[in-house]
Symmetry: C2
Subunit: 115 residues, 2 copies
DNA sequence: ATCGTTCATCGCAAATATACGATGAATAAG
DNA sequence: CTTATTCATCGTATATTTGCGATGAACGAT
């Protein structure tokens, strides 16, 4: 009786919501920043830069991979992570479109009666 | 032992994460769309357009107000909701900056070794 | 004053998310 | 083969989110 109704919405909204969810934790935002600065990097390096345990960071990375913001490739015992540039570009465009849409026709907001 | 570590991150990341969280549910994305199309509108109208109970919609509206995406004004027994245009503009700029930042220096991603 | 409408909030149940220690898989090095 | 390193995953505890019925507050209309 909770978190069951997501399916009842438009695919568009569900998709954007998924990405927003992935971006809804400071640790994940920071991981993306780290990855964008460090080029390719390994999980351990990220762990060293965050106040979180290795298991937790691994979970956050998994979530970022799930929505395609990040890609990881196993290299022997290590795993090499990096930003998924193409995907991020597309994702950002979706956000941009959404924001444009909800910001378009709003000259007539209730601020007119605000005072 | 959970959801306690948010405070340990940069204010910047915490702020963006807060907004992303508000945008992380399809119902809330749809509510914003509805508000942007209907000009000002009352909670009841939104409830009619969503597959959710009134109490639930009210909660979602509260969350959207919390991060300033929406403003609401009580008018007698009704409450008039509308998009907070100015605030949305600022919020979008933050997102934009963040995306630009993580997308900047990534010519050197691991796709080079992808194949 | 009473009634109906509109909505916020409370209290609860269930689902998810967050965090971590422990374990195990995979490989490199010895 | 043994060991050390790196990481994913499992299991678990706790916190948060989602959803709703029930209730009550605020007002307009009668």
């Amino acid at each position: 009786m909770a978190e069951h109704k997501r399916h009842l919405f438009d695919k568009d909204e569900i998709d954007i919501a998924e990405v927003a969810k992935a971006l809804s934790h400071p640790a994940r935002l920071k991981i993306l920043r780290i990855l964008s600065q460090m080029n390719v990097c390994m999980c351990g390096e990220i762990v060293d830069l965050l106040p979180l345990a290795q298991a937790t960071v691994s979970q956050h990375l998994k979530e970022l991979k799930r929505v395609n913001l990040v890609q990881g490739e196993i290299e022997g015992p290590k795993t090499c992570y990096c930003i998924n540039t193409d995907s991020i570009q597309k994702i950002f465009e979706k956000f941009q479109n959404y924001f444009n849409e909800i910001n378009k026709e709003c000259n007539r907001s209730c601020k007119t009666k605000k005072k």
